[in-house]
């Protein structure tokens, strides 16, 4: 009982830290976009955390952790019924690491982050109603089903032997794939590419705010990865926090080094995105790596982000905050890195990681396509050019975020 109490306290603290990440995401997104869309971003982020928790309570949790309630195949689709189960919760032998309630809350905080990733990429031009419907469906259906394949003891973990410690694939790439599909359908912000197709800089409105966001996200990652140990096991939690922080540091330095080399300029936003790339990169194998592995994975994660930002610009895809380089590209890297570095490195493991990435990616892309095209046919995805020009704060929410007096 004492052990359960200790473990449970740690897990609740981690749930709180992951919750705090939503402020980090909001700050980062506001700072890297234009001032005229600030209320819109806050609205989206408030919607994601509120809707995400309720939907996860009513459906998602039992879709992600179906137990023995299989619907299709063994571990492909299952559903343990709507709502939370007070009877199961009363049984404290549920788990030695945490109570049923803590389990729900910690996982619920995770579910919402997948939607937040989409929010950053589509900033500045999506209709708020279309966004809310898309994210609702994505968190309702796509996120928990993919999660069930691995964390819900589904086929990826039981049959394939896929490894994803805290969600480089299951959380970050799921959000990233959704974001990629939707920005492809949505098109770039007006003025992001000139008439000959070259990318144009649209500088962020508040870099100090995004800096606060990045540091809050880093702090939140103590809970995101630290809580994914699923207990307060001293050896594992401490190692995970060390690998997480080393990867973040190496990610920032790596990204800064590469972007300085490439652009002859000390770019703060690349530095900050690189930290996040390092964090996403280590997330798949944070408990498998030694300090050196973590530094290498982080540094490559940061590099992937810098190259990813340039790659998206080349592809004429507009991702104002770098959500796709950070969460999708670095997420893919981190997932593959489990097969290259650390305790479970082997060629076989690498192939399993690759195949699982492919399956998850295909499911997310198809899911996001169906959801986004359906929503598009109902209400359209994009605001009018005039509304975009005025800013979504005025055109979608009827007011501004800042007044000069």
């Amino acid at each position: 009982m004492e052990l359960l109490t200790t473990n449970n306290v740690w897990m609740m603290l981690c749930a709180a830290l992951v919750f705090f990440m939503h402020l980090g995401f909001s700050f980062l997104e506001i700072g890297l976009t234009r001032q005229k869309n600030t209320i819109n971003i806050l609205f989206k982020n408030f919607f994601i955390i509120t809707m995400g928790l309720i939907v996860y309570c009513l459906v998602g949790f039992n879709l992600m952790y179906p137990g023995d309630f299989n619907i299709i195949g063994n571990g492909i689709l299952g559903f343990a019924g709507p709502g939370l189960d007070a009877v199961a919760a009363a049984d404290l032998s549920y788990n030695e690491g945490y109570t049923y309630w803590t389990d729900f809350l910690f996982q619920g905080m995770f579910a919402a982050t997948a939607g937040t990733i989409i929010s950053g990429a589509v900033a500045g031009r999506i209709k708020i109603n279309a966004f809310m419907l898309i994210v609702f469906l994505y968190i309702l259906i796509v996120y928990p089903i993919v999660g069930s394949w691995q964390w819900g003891a589904g086929f990826l973990s039981e049959v394939f032997g896929f490894y994803d410690f805290a969600g480089s694939t299951l959380v970050h790439s799921v959000g990233g794939w959704g974001a990629l599909v939707i920005i492809y359908l949505l098109g770039a912000r007006k003025g992001k590419f000139d008439s000959s197709g070259n990318a144009v800089a649209i500088p962020g409105s508040n870099i100090p705010l995004s800096a606060a966001g990045v540091l809050i996200l880093w702090l939140g990652w103590f809970g995101f990865n630290g809580g994914s140990v699923l207990s307060a096991d001293p050896a594992n939690t401490s190692l995970v926090l060390v690998t997480t922080c080393l990867a973040a540091a190496a990610g920032g330095l790596g990204a800064s080094f590469v972007s300085t080399l490439a652009y002859k300029n000390l770019d703060i936003t690349m530095f900050m995105n690189g930290i996040l790339g390092g964090l996403v990169g280590i997330t798949a194998g944070a408990d498998q790596m030694g300090p050196t592995d973590a530094i290498i994975i982080g540094a490559i994660g940061g590099t992937v982000v810098v190259l990813g930002v340039a790659f998206l610009d080349k592809c004429k895809l507009d991702d104002p905050v770098g959500a796709i380089p950070v969460h999708l590209f670095a997420g893919i890297w981190g997932t593959l890195a489990v097969g290259i570095f650390g305790a479970s490195a082997s060629f076989d493991q690498f192939m399993v990681q690759l195949a699982s990435l492919g399956i998850v990616g295909a499911f997310c892309v198809v899911g996001a396509l169906i959801i986004a095209l359906t929503v598009k046919s109902i209400m359209g995805l994009r605001v009018s050019a005039e509304e975009e020009e005025k800013g979504l704060d005025i055109s979608e929410h009827g007011t501004k975020a800042y007044f000069s007096s």
Binding site: A201, P203, S259, N265, D267, T269, V306
Partner: protein
């Protein structure tokens, strides 16, 4: 009476104010202006080089009596210059009349 309008670098503002004070010009209005010109600034944001089309300057509007015009212009020319493109411009206009609202005085008396 003349109106002297000067567009100067914000970074030179304090020096220009001091030079004007030394020339016994104590009262004027100013505001920040945005313009386009020959100055090119190569900024970089997330790997994309861009040139700021907007140039930020400060505009001074000074009303002086005719005998002060040369000294005022001279003070701005000397204190506002860096020698680089973008130091700004000075325009001198005739000023038809001036009034001090408190007393109703007009002409040179209204601002001396």
């Amino acid at each position: 009476m003349k109106k002297i309008e000067a567009i100067i670098r914000k970074s030179k503002f304090d020096e220009v104010v001091k030079a004007l004070h030394d020339a016994e010009v104590y009262f004027f209005s100013y505001w920040d202006v945005t313009g386009v010109g020959n100055e090119k600034i190569g900024n970089v944001y997330r790997g994309i080089t861009y040139s700021t089309k907007d140039i930020q300057r400060r505009c001074l509007s000074i009303i002086v009596s005719d005998s002060f015009v040369d000294a005022t212009v001279d003070a701005i020319l000397k204190s506002g210059a860096t020698g680089n493109v973008g130091d700004g411009k000075i325009f001198v206009y005739p000023c038809e009349e001036a009034y001090r609202i408190r007393t109703g005085e007009k002409g040179n008396k209204s601002f001396n």
